[in-house]
Amino acid sequence: MSARVTVASNIHGAMTDVRGRYAISGSNFELTSDGSVRSGGPGEQASALDLLVASLVSCALNAFRQDFVEDGQPDRHVEIFARVERRVDGDYLGTLILECFIDGVDTATADELVAEYKQRCRIYNALKESLPVVFVPHTSDAAGR
């Protein structure tokens, strides 16, 4: 393995004029993130947990859009609804449930897409022990009345 190092992500975090609200920026984007009301922040914009979930959603959208799509074929349309469920008295992060609506695939293909994602996504593999992820795919052959 080469000893050379590169930078995979570069983020800047800064305070804003609003207590508990932060500007999170990269080279070509800026996000706003809030501390919770419990911690003294506004609790309106994306929380730290929201951003963590968003990272997995973004990666899954990108994977399901194109994995196993044959050359020359259009990308798939994918929509994901994600939630973190936790017991009310739990002191752990929770379980992440990703409900994935993937157009144009059958159940078997959806399962293959999920398996491929779990194998390849570095973020998923870094987090999976502390944030279990449950995939709930919804596909063409299971859809309808």
Binding site: S36, V37, R38, S39, G43, E44, S47, A48, L49, L52, E79, F81, R83, E85, V88, L93, I97, E99, F101, V134, V136, H138, A143, G144, R145
Partner: protein, 311 residues
């Protein structure tokens, strides 16, 4: 993913029947035409007559009880009254009850009837998808005379909890009526859906008790139905509830003005196996109780009882 797999919850096939199937099964079914408690559709009714043999019922007379100083304006009737009603309809002949409305705008009256009958464990009613207009489009038979009420003496009392068709009624936990305290708890720890129009949900500056239950999600029910008044597919319903944070293992509740429109939310959720409790008294009671909190505006707020912190 839901717990309690031993509880028999309503499913699409057990709760909704399309017009084509209802026509084929006509002799096995008992049709009940439910009139709304107030005018909900504009313009003349395009259909004259009714489904042959249909029984007339109404939200105001049959599916609402007497108001009290603390109730909403359409409280639930006593459960015994629903059992008596079903007996008057001739429930002991084994035919399954199908409730429907004349106009698609009145669909919530059918879901209110469905909920009330299920809550009282009086009957597992089906709802005719698309109502009378769908029946007419499917070339179902129509007789010229209007549906009539069945206010004669009751028949043989039904055996407890079981319709003569032999199918057990859904467990009471599938039809949950919430108190104000229970709704507030769900708003704090789960998700509460408000089915009222946007302006009343938002509230008015000059009306202190206008607005919504704190943290309630605005969820008008029109988008649960197609333009033809048909219930949307399971996939579309699932997306609807997911988009509003109302699908999952957490507690979900629904309310409206008087406990009618929000039954459409409860019904649609039941089709995809998502329990939703109904605050029957709804805003008509909440507004009057000065001890209950009111929130105004359109911005969705999060309960700070929920620890969503990462540390």
């Amino acid at each position: 993913m839901r717990q309690g797999a031993d509880v028999e919850r309503p499913t699409r096939a057990a709760s909704l029947i399309d017009a084509a199937e209802a026509i084929v099964r006509f002799d096995e079914l008992r049709f009940v035409e439910v009139a709304p408690w107030r005018a909900m559709a504009s313009g003349p009714d395009s259909t004259t007559g009714s489904i042959p043999g249909a029984i007339a019922a109404s939200i105001a007379v049959d599916f609402s009880g007497e108001q009290t100083p603390t109730s909403g304006h359409l409280p639930l009737p006593p459960a015994e009254a629903l059992h008596d009603l079903v007996r008057r309809w001739g429930a002991d002949d084994g035919r399954q009850i199908v409730v429907y409305t004349r106009r698609i705008e009145e669909f919530s009256s059918a879901t209110r009837a469905w909920f009330t009958l299920g809550w009282a464990r009086a009957a597992d009613a089906l709802i005719l998808d698309g109502g009378l207009p769908a029946w007419v489009r499917a070339a179902g038979p129509i007789e010229d005379t209007p549906a009539e009420r069945a206010d004669g003496p009751g028949g043989t009392p039904a055996s407890g909890g079981v319709q003569r068709t032999g199918r057990p009624l859904a467990e009471p936990s599938a039809f949950v009526a919430l108190s104000a305290a229970e709704l507030l708890d769900r708003a704090s720890w789960g998700t509460v859906l408000d089915a009222r129009p946007a302006d009343v949900h938002q509230g008015f500056v000059d009306e202190p008790r206008s607005g919504h239950v704190p943290h309630a999600v605005h969820a008008p029910t029109e988008s649960l139905l197609t333009e033809d008044g048909l219930v949307r597919s399971d996939i579309e319903l699932r997306k609807w509830f997911l988009a509003r944070g109302a699908l999952g293992a957490h507690d979900v509740g629904a309310y409206c003005g008087g406990g009618v429109a929000s039954t459409t939310i409860v019904f649609a959720a039941a089709l995809i196996d998502q329990p939703v409790g109904l605050y029957v008294d709804s805003w008509s009671a909440w507004q009057r109780d000065e001890s209950l909190p009111v929130e105004r505006g359109t911005r969705l707020t999060r309960s700070n009882l929920i620890d969503a912190d990462c540390s």
